[in-house]
Amino acid sequence: MQPPIEIESTRTALGAAERVWGWEIPTYLFFGGLVAGLMLAVAASILLLGPERITRAMRWGLVAAPLLLSVGMLALFVDLTAKLHVFRFYTTFQPSAPMSLGSWVLLGVVPVQLLLILALPPEALQKRLARVRVLAAVQRFARAHLRALALVALVLAVALGVYTGVLLSTTVARPLWSSGALGVLFLASGASTGVAALMLGERDRAMSDRFARADIALILLEVLVLVLWLAGLASQGPAYREAAASMLVGPYAPVFLGMVVFGGLVVPAVLEALSLRGRALHSRAVPALVLAGGLILRFVIVYAGQDGGFTVG
C-alpha cells in the first residue's frame, strides 16, 4: 500500500480551478445533437417511406433545424474568448481536431438544410416561396434530386451527431470522456431528441406511432451504450474508475441516475410502449421528458468530466 500523500502547490491559494467549459458547450452539444436527430428522422423517412408521407410537423421540423442550429452556434460563439478570431476556424483544416472537423461539417449542413426546406416546405411557407422566381428554380432542382439530398443529409447528420461526442472523447485529460462510446451515445441521444421534437408537433396518429417505436429503439441503444461506456471506464485505471463512480455513486449520481436515466430514458420509453399498446394516450409530456433528459445528459457529462482529471498541484 502507498503511504498517504499530502500535496501543496503554488496554485493551492487560487482555490479549486473554475470549469474550463461552462454552460455554452453542453447547450451547443444539445442543439447540435437535436438538429442531427431532426435531419436523421426526416431524411430516413424520405428514403424509407417516400416524400409524400412527410407530414406537416416534419416539414416544420425542417424549417426549425437551421434556426435551432443557429442557437447552438451562437452559444459556441459566446464561448470564444477571442471572438474576432472566429474566422480562423475556416482558414484551416485540422484532421486530428474534432472541433475543426465539426466546424466544416456545420458549413456543409446548412445548405443541405435549406435545400430540404425548399423541397418539402410547409403549406404556409410554400405560398410565400412561390412568389420568388429564383427560388422556384432551386426548388425544382431540390425536388428532382430529393433522394440524393436525403442521403447527403443522412450522412451529414450522422457526422454532426457523432462529432458532438467525439469532441469530448479526444481530450486526453478528462478520464470520464476517454471513451469512443461517447460518439455513439451522443448520436443516439441526439436522434432520440430529434424524434421527440417531431413528436411534439405530430398530429398524424400513424406517424406518432412510428416515432414512438423509433424512440424506444433509440432509448434502448442509449442505455446499452451508457452501460458500455461506464463499464469500459470502470475496467481501466484508478482515475477512470473514479470518473465512472462519480456518475453512479458520487455527486452527479442523483442528477444522472434520477433525471437522465430514470426521468429522461426509462419513464418516456415505458410511456411510449404503453401508448403503442393503447394503454396510454400519446402525450406531449413524453417527448418533453426526452428533450429535458438529453439536455441534462450533456450538462452532467460536460461538468462531471471537468471535475475529474490527473492533475496534482
Binding site: E8, L80, F310
Partner: protein, 177 residues
Amino acid sequence: MQRVMVIDTRRCVGCEACVVACKTENDVPPGAYRDWVVQETRGELPHLSLLIRSERCNHCASAPCVSNCPTGASFHREDGTVQIDRDKCTGCRACMTACPYDARYVHPDGFVDKCTLCVHRLDAGSPTACEEVCPTSAILTGDLDDPSSLVAARLRAGDVSVVTQEAGTEPHVYYTH
C-alpha cells in the same frame, strides 16, 4: 533538435524563485501561473519524506493540446517545444480541457497562454528565466538529441520520472531523483 528541461528534485528547495522570475520575464497576469511549485509530503509523522517539483507545461511529444486545436494555433516548433500562435487562437479552450497538467490559462486579452520554455531567451543563447534564477541550479534546459549536452548527462545518470505518466503524453520536462 529536441529542447527539454531536466529538474533535479534533490536540489530543489521550493523557494519559488522560478515562479517569480517567470511572472516578471513573461508579464504573466495576476491569478495565472506559467510555472508553479508542488510539494508532496508522503508518510505519517515521524516517518515523512518530502518531494518538491517545479512544474510547467511539459512540451509533450504527444500533445493533446496540439491535436485538439481546431485552428492550428497550438503547434510543435521545430525545436520540439509546444507554442501558441496568438493570432490564430480563438479562445475555444479545447486545449485547456485536453491538457492533463492544467498548464494553460486564458490571458485577459482573449488568447490562451502558457510556458513557452522561454524560447525567446534560448534562441538568443540565454537560459530560461526560471533556470537563470534558480539558486541551486536544479533547473536545466538543453538539447536531448546532443549526447554531450548537460541535460543528456543528467538523464543518463539519475533516476528519471515525468509527471502523470499514465496520461501518455510523453512529456519533455523530466525530474531526476
